[in-house]
């Protein structure tokens, strides 16, 4: 049986309108997991960092590698092994030019004096602490302070000191000697400090 075409048309249109009449309403209520703020400072286990500290230098050589003098392993920060004396060489603090890590000619006499006095103190070690002024970025300055301490160490090695007894540390710009935002302060902060380590007997 053949339906009249116009009836078909009307029928389709009515069907379409019927479908579009029911609009779905999205119901997307989403509940988030909520437990409130959690403590993120955990309890320290008794030895949180795991490994045992090394004993004083027995494995490094005094021969420079292609990247310099290897750092000596050692328990340098253990007060049961070493006593810090920051006053012995306070006058021999070495100062550096901006963004440089080379030992200037004006500073050389300080280091020859340090080497001379260390020769009279067998068994003592020397901690070399490198610093930077605030004008570089933080981690860049950490590398710069590290380079400065290494430069001093290499100079002292050439003066005959044992690199295995010269650990270094860098503080970047974290420990200025002088507060201030001018060259007078900055010049005093670009430095390497020499701290005598006295063996605890």
């Amino acid at each position: 049986m053949k339906l009249p075409l116009h009836w078909l048309t009307i029928g389709l249109m009515a069907l379409s309108l019927g479908i579009t009449g029911c609009r779905k309403r999205p119901d997307r209520l989403t509940t988030l997991g909520g437990t409130g703020p959690r403590s993120i400072v955990g309890d320290e286990p008794s030895n949180p960092f795991g490994t045992k500290p090394f004993e004083g230098g027995t494995t490094t050589t005094a021969t420079p590698t292609e990247t310099g003098l290897p750092q000596p392993p050692g328990d340098w920060d253990n007060p049961a092994k070493w006593t810090r004396n920051p006053d012995m060489f306070r006058d021999q603090t070495v100062y550096f030019d901006f963004d440089k890590a080379t030992v200037k000619p004006s500073e050389v006499a300080k280091l020859t004096e340090v080497a001379r006095r260390m020769r009279t103190m067998p068994g003592h070690a020397l901690k070399i602490e490198g610093h930077a002024d605030e004008r570089g970025t933080e981690e860049y300055n950490r590398t710069l302070g590290d380079k400065r301490a290494q430069s001093i160490r290499e100079f002292l090695f050439k003066e005959g000191m044992n690199p295995d007894m010269m650990p270094t540390i860098t503080f970047g710009e974290d420990k200025p000697a002088v507060a201030g935002h001018n060259e007078a302060a900055w010049a005093k902060n670009r430095r390497g400090e020499l701290v005598l380590l006295v063996p605890v007997r």
């Binding site: 075409l5 959690r38 292609e66 310099g68 590398t143 290494q150 650990p167 974290d174």
Partner: protein, 397 residues
């Protein structure tokens, strides 16, 4: 003639049926229409937000801003956002102003109203931009907080610095926090005297040594897959670039230059590391090297003097960094190198996961604060300062 009329009638009705059926089969779907600027960033989408007040209002608008959606007057807006927040629930309906069609509707509840609003912001941004990875409203940042002279700790907060909490209580210097995934931090701590690098599971506080080599271990950067750490070690006599597994095993020395290296940053595909070095003792420059070893290749950053602190965008296209012009200035350069684009004054950028916003710090030493930057519009929002000085932001990806 009659058959022609019949034919046209049939055609018209079928056409009408088809178009109505297409509309009726799903709710009217908003067809995303966005444009991009010459650098490939989404052009801002203008909206007008109503129905919120106080914290909910500022949180929603701030979230949207750093996802490329800007609150404007009704005249300038293309979309109207009618929102409501009550108790721990936030909801909104987004309509296209001219057509009045509803393009998005959603409601969220959370542990607090603020978290519900953040979830709502993410859902609106995804709907309007069509991009899943645009969503950053529920992400976190870690950063260094100075707690006293030569004392700093790592803090973790929402990306807008709300709810900041100390993750460490070492009472020593802690520096350069970065994320391994979203549940673990890696940083350098001076707690045992020299700086050593540790990983730190946030939920338990459990820590493991990643690098405890003789000498100094610092500037960690974790690869996107969380498996490897790049870092600066001076164990062999000069601060150089090394890579190890996240548990510290498999140490590999990548660079050997005697002038020293700094500031590593991974490419998102984990194959390349961008870092700072000097060419023959000159001023600092950016370099790239294969993470499995090879020759360093200089990265051109024309117009940006003394580049340091590179941070590679998660989409791999850009490297943001700090340059020095009259003070610190943020720049970015295409990952292949070239002419650097000046952004705003500031330092130490960390990209958001959507490669559009970034966090940075600015201000005098020991008195710095964090800010957010919407890179394509250069809109800056300073954030609340925790204690005296906040720096070294790291945005969890």
């Amino acid at each position: 003639m009659k058959s022609m009329t019949n034919f046209l009638s049939a055609f018209l009705s079928l056409f009408l049926f088809a178009s109505l059926a297409a509309v009726a089969a799903d709710p009217p779907r908003y067809r995303v229409e966005v444009t991009y600027d010459p650098n490939g960033f989404l052009q801002p989408i203008f909206v007008h937000v109503t129905g919120l007040s106080g914290e909910a209002d500022s949180v929603l608008k701030n979230d949207l801003l750093f996802m490329g959606i800007v609150h404007k007057s009704p005249d300038e807006a293309r979309f109207l956002i009618n929102a409501n927040a009550a108790g721990v629930r936030a909801e909104a309906r987004v309509t296209e102003k001219v057509t009045k069609s509803v393009v998005h509707e959603a409601a969220f509840t959370g542990s607090a109203q603020r978290s519900a609003v953040h979830a709502l912001s993410d859902s609106i941004a995804k709907a309007l931009t069509g991009l899943q990875n645009i969503a950053i409203a529920t992400t976190k940042v870690a950063f260094k907080v100075e707690t006293g002279p030569a004392r700093s700790e790592v803090y973790v907060a929402d990306y807008d610095c709300f709810g900041a909490q100390a993750a460490t209580t070492d009472q020593t210097i802690i520096a350069a926090p970065c994320w391994a995934g979203r549940g673990m931090l890696v940083y350098s701590s001076y707690k045992q005297g020299n700086p050593y690098i540790f990983s730190h599971v946030l939920s338990t506080g459990a820590r493991n040594a990643v690098a405890r080599h003789p000498g100094n271990n610092y500037s960690p950067a974790v690869s996107r897959d969380g498996r490897r750490v790049a870092m600066i070690l001076n164990k062999n006599g000069t601060p150089n670039l090394y890579v190890a597994n996240i548990d510290g095993s498999g140490l590999n020395q990548l660079t050997r230059n005697r002038d020293g290296d700094a500031c590593p940053s991974w490419s998102p595909d984990g194959r390349t590391i961008c870092y700072v070095s000097r060419a023959g003792g000159g001023s600092p420059a950016l370099y790239k090297i294969s993470a499995s070893g090879g020759s360093p290749v200089p990265l051109r950053t024309t117009f940006a003097p003394n580049p340091t602190e590179p941070d590679w965008s998660p989409d791999g296209k850009w490297i943001a960094f700090t340059a020095q012009i009259r003070g610190f200035t943020l720049f970015m350069v295409r990952a292949e190198g070239g002419e650097a684009i000046e952004l705003v004054p500031g330092e130490d950028p960390s990209w958001a996961p959507n490669s559009r916003a970034l966090m940075f710090c600015s201000g005098p030493d020991h008195n710095k604060r964090l800010s957010l930057l919407d890179v394509p519009t250069k809109t800056v929002k300073p954030l609340a300062r925790i204690l005296e000085s906040n720096s070294q932001p790291s945005w969890a990806k």
